[in-house]
Structure formats: structure tokens, C-alpha cells
Symmetry: C2
Subunit: 339 residues, 2 copies
């Protein structure tokens, strides 16, 4: 209807179209057509991922537990458990007869399914989409074309549509009714809006945390996290890249104290942004993480002191440096990066 925005399709920079895994379905001897693209309706990544995790159980025991127990352990249905057991028997890993599941040999590296085949379609689409977004050349106002994205990634349009709908809550894209999506861009404005909410939410959560009763289980969780921080601090030179995972767990614990689903859910936005931001921007990663670990330790100490003013101060300080880190990595216009 209107063509105010430049019609610049969001294209891949380095065009290695990730091919969807097309390996034959091994269990039950079924085959899936592939390059032909016909009839392939659902990949069996749930099975493959659970199978790989199941293999690791074989190292530890001489025989496997019951089917329902395995289901709980692997987080899948009994149907999938049985498919896994069937393959383990087929490849001579176990002897399976009703209740008895005896381990015959240790798994070899080639028993595992390749990592790429264990990803969900949503993960594949997200990665592919974010790569394009961050690879540069993805400017605000660009149109996003479902069909083109689907073709380039090699998936159906439905999956892309569903991904974009889910992704839209991150505030980076917006839908035009009966028409295309518009990229709003990973801009300085975005980062500022994001951090504004983050700071509001985290200050409130931190205060709620400090006010939690002595017997709340979160204090034990906090102790464990403190330990992990101390250990990481000691070996920071070698393990600095492990920080981002710890960072997320720490902040999620704090946010959960708010007991507010909107605050807790909002951390998904932050986590997503930080996840890709960390991957993208490795400059001074070690120094940044070293500082952050120390800030976390001060933060934890403040929480344990239950001194609300102290918590507030420490939290503000940490959020300020987090914001600074994020903003530094988003050059916009010709403004100098530092004040």
C-alpha cells in the first residue's frame, strides 16, 4: 500500500545456507525424502538430542532404569525413550529385553548424532536471523521478507512466521498488517530503552530480594552462586568466557525475587540481547568480565547484609557499567563512543 521505506531485503552476508539435516531416520528403518523436499514435516531432533544425552548415562551404570524413569531423566516421553532404547540395542550398546537393559559397551564418539542435528528449528532460524542482523548492513527501516528468509534458511514459511511473531516481543521488529515486517534496528535508542526498563526492574527485584525472609531457599542459591563467582574470580584469566552464563543465572535469581511474571519474562529480552552481544563484541571481554565478577561479589555481599540503601547503591553501580558496556559496542552516527 505504501512504499515509504527503502525496499532493501535483509540478505545474508556470507551466504552459506545452513542445510537442514537430512540424515535418514535411523530408528524403525524409516527414510525421509530430502533434497526433493517432499513430505519432510518434522525433524526428529528431540530424539537425537535425548539419545546423545542418553549415551552419557551408559558410562556411569551397568544397566539402565525403567522407561518412565528414563523419560523423566531425559525430559522426553516414553515413546521417545523406547525409540532411543531400540537404537541402542540395534547398535550393540545395550541388551534390551523388557525390564532388563544391560549395558554391553561404552559409547564411542561416532555413536553420537552430530550436534547440528540436535537443534530445534526455532534455534536454527534464530541463529540465522541474528547472524544477518548483526553482520552489518541491517539498517533500521529495512523490510523483512518471510518467504525470502524461509527460502534462504531452507525451512517452511510457517516456521519463519512463528519465529518472527515470537521474536517481535524483543522490540527489534514490527509487523505491518497484511504486509511485511519492518526492522527497527539494533540501535543506541534500543539499547537505552532496554536498559531503562532493566534498571527499573532490577532495582525493584534486588530490593525485594533483600527483604526476603531468612528461611527462604534463595539464600542458599545465592551462597552457591557466590562460591561459583569466587572460583571464577580466582581463575579469571583462563575462564573469563564462562562468565556470561553465570551472569545470566545470577540476574535471573534476582529477578525471580520480584514474583512478577512480567519482570521475570523481561529478562528473556535482556538475555537474548546479551547473548548475541557477547558473541559479537569480544573487545576487552576479559577486562569487562573481571570487573563484572567483582561487582557481582559486592552485589551479593550487599544483598546478604540486607541493607537496602547499600543494595541500591551497589545495584546501580553494576547496572551503570553494564549499560556502558552495551552502549560502547553500538556505534551510532558519528558521535564519539565515550563521553
Amino acid at each position: 500500500m505504501e512504499a515509504l521505506q527503502p525496499k532493501l531485503a535483509l540478505r545474508m552476508m556470507f551466504s552459506e545456507a545452513i542445510p537442514i539435516s537430512c540424515a535418514r531416520t535411523l530408528h524403525a528403518g524409516r527414510k525421509r525424502r530430502c533434497a526433493t523436499g517432499q513430505g519432510m514435516s518434522k525433524s526428529n531432533n528431540v530424539y537425537k538430542d535425548a539419545y546423545n544425552r542418553g549415551l552419557r548415562l551408559l558410562d556411569e551404570t551397568k544397566s539402565l532404569p525403567s522407561e518412565p524413569e528414563l523419560g523423566t531423566l531425559l525430559g522426553v516421553s516414553r515413546t521417545t525413550v523406547r525409540t532411543i532404547l531400540a537404537r541402542m540395542e540395534e547398535t550393540g550398546l545395550i541388551d534390551w529385553n523388557k525390564r532388563s537393559k544391560t549395558v554391553l559397551r561404552e559409547p564411542r564418539p561416532d555413536d553420537f548424532f552430530p550436534e547440528e542435528e540436535t537443534d530445534t528449528l526455532a534455534e536454527i532460524i534464530e541463529r540465522s536471523f541474528m547472524r544477518r542482523l548483526l553482520a552489518g548492513g541491517a539498517e533500521a527501516g529495512m523490510q523483512i521478507n518471510e518467504l525470502e528468509l524461509a527460502r534462504e534458511i531452507g525451512v517452511g514459511t510457517t516456521s519463519v512466521r512463528e519465529f518472527l511473531i515470537r521474536f517481535s516481543r524483543f522490540g527489534l521488529i514490527e509487523k505491518r498488517r497484511n504486509s511485511h515486517w519492518v526492522l527497527k534496528g539494533f540501535t543506541r535508542a534500543f539499547a537505552l530503552e532496554l536498559t531503562e526498563i532493566r534498571e527499573m526492574f532490577e532495582l525493584r527485584s534486588a530490593a525485594a530480594f533483600a527483604a526476603l525472609p531468612e528461611d527462604s531457599p534463595v539464600w542458599a542459591d545465592l551462597d552457591r552462586l557466590e562460591d561459583e563467582h569466587r572460583r571464577l574470580a580466582r581463575e579469571i584469566a583462563a575462564r573469563f568466557s564462562e562468565f556470561s552464563e553465570l551472569d545470566e543465572r545470577f540476574h535471573r535469581l534476582i529477578h525471580r525475587a520480584s514474583h512478577n511474571r512480567f519482570i521475570v519474562d523481561f529478562y528473556d529480552v535482556i538475555a537474548m540481547i546479551f547473548h548475541y552481544h557477547y558473541q559479537w563484541n569480544k573487545a576487552q571481554e576479559r577486562e569487562r568480565n573481571e570487573v563484572a565478577v567483582q561487582e557481582h561479589l559486592a552485589y551479593i555481599a550487599a544483598l546478604k547484609s540486607r541493607d537496602l540503601a547499600r543494595v541500591d547503591a551497589v545495584c546501580r553501580k553494576h547496572l551503570k557499567s553494564a549499560r556502558h558496556t552495551l552502549l560502547t559496542s553500538i556505534p551510532e552516527g558519528r558521535q564519539p563512543l565515550r563521553a
Copy 2:
């Protein structure tokens, strides 16, 4: 995988399955198969809705403007405009020859497409879903079945899935990977979490609003809204039900002053809840709206005064009564409704 929650499917209370409109496509003489359910892939509600709005233009003029202009006016593409013009000619409403589009007669009531046929699928699904949710019997922990919902509403599963994904950001449902959705319920906890965020966001937005420069266009918008409030206040007895629409416009104007997409977007959650809540709970609607209009007028006056302390106080007062109204309508457990 696990069956901890009661398997109580979310069923309709009054089972009048809204049948999707199956009227023949009138333009171009095409027909759509229907009860058979075959091949019907997309309804032409965009065309029908735009056509109805187009009919109202005929009252005012002796001839219609150019196709692109009509497109802008009706918010549709030229393709749809031409389909509309074709039908208007077919039914003798206009004489259409290239640039000349002469109005021959005024539209009659039966020229309009029925209202139901102008709704989008998303609207149909949302209404149907919310009716069930609010009709009672929809308790927290219930499972939501995509296939069943789709069958009962009479639409495809894809549309239901997409709706549920979009709807999930309201915090009322949650997805179990590779499995069903879980209803979290329209509970007192939900209302409290919602209002907590709302209050945080609105206080901040109101402060930002009051700090806006003299020459910002929002002051004119505010003046217009003040007028509308005064007029409504004068005729409140007859027009009290028009308040909710005004309410939404007023609060959206305020939230927009935050210049934060997350704050602006969050008002969608509030608006959705209030929309259905107002429909559901008509108790003391007149009195409530009368109070709210007066609170809005005080709020507007405070904003115009630019006295931040006064804005804060008035805003808090209004939010408090809004929260009270919402909570009153959600009886939970056996607690008394009023303190």
C-alpha cells in the same frame, strides 16, 4: 511426559461454534468451497471491510478520487481498491471508466457486507478464546489443546498456534515444549503483577510528560482529550459506556511520552485486559467511569501545571482506584472482596 496438571480441556460453555463466513466471493465471480472445507485458504475480510468503509465515502461526494488516493484513504493496496470499484460498478453504485468514477446512487443497507465477515481471523480467535477464558470454569493449570480449539472455532491449527504465540506475551498462558499450553489463569496474582508494572511505567511516563517542552505537539493532543473528557462528564449519565475508549487513548498518550517501546508496548497488555474486563464486569460501571473521568481531569490539570509532585500524587491516586476496580472484579478463594 509428565501429567502433574489436571487434564481438563478448556471447553466452551455455550457451544455455539461461530461458523466462518462462507459467502461466495462476489467479485470476479469466483466461488469458494466451504462446508466441504476444501481449499479455503484466506478470507477476503480486508476487501469486505474496506468496501464497507468505501460505501460511506459515496454519501459525501459525486465522484471518487484516484485509485492510489483511495488506497491511502482506506488503508489497503490498489489491488483491493480495484476489486472494490469493480463491485461498486457491478451493483450499480458507480459508473467506472478509467479515471472517472461517478456516483450513481446512495448505498442502501443491504449494500454493506455483514459485520461478521469483516473481522480478521485473529480477532475471531481472540474473541472466542477470551469468551471461554472469562466464561468461568477456566481454572489455572488447565491444558490448552490447539487442535481442539481449532476444531471448535472452525479454523486451521496454524492460525490458532499463531494466536497463542502472540497471546502468550500477555502472561496468561505458557508453553510446554513439544507439548500443550498451560493456562495460568486470570487470577488476583495476575492482576497484582500487571498493576505493579503499570504503576511503575505510568508514573515514569507521567513525569516524562510533564517535563516535555512547551512546544511539543502533545500539549495540543492533551487539550483535545481534556475537551472530550469535559463533554463526556457533562453527559455522563447517557454516555458513560464511551469512557473505556477515551480511557485507552488518554493513557496511551501519556505512555508515549516515555519514548520507550517496552513501556508503550506494555500498554497493549493493559488495554487487552481492561477491554475484556469491562465487557465482563458491568457492575457499577456508571459510577466507576464517573469517578475515573474526574480523576482524569485532575490528572490533566496536574500535567498542565508541570508540577512534578502534583503529577505524581494525582497519578498515584488514579492508579490506586484503577487497581481497586480491577481487583474487585476478581474474586479469589473465599476472601472478602473489599477490605
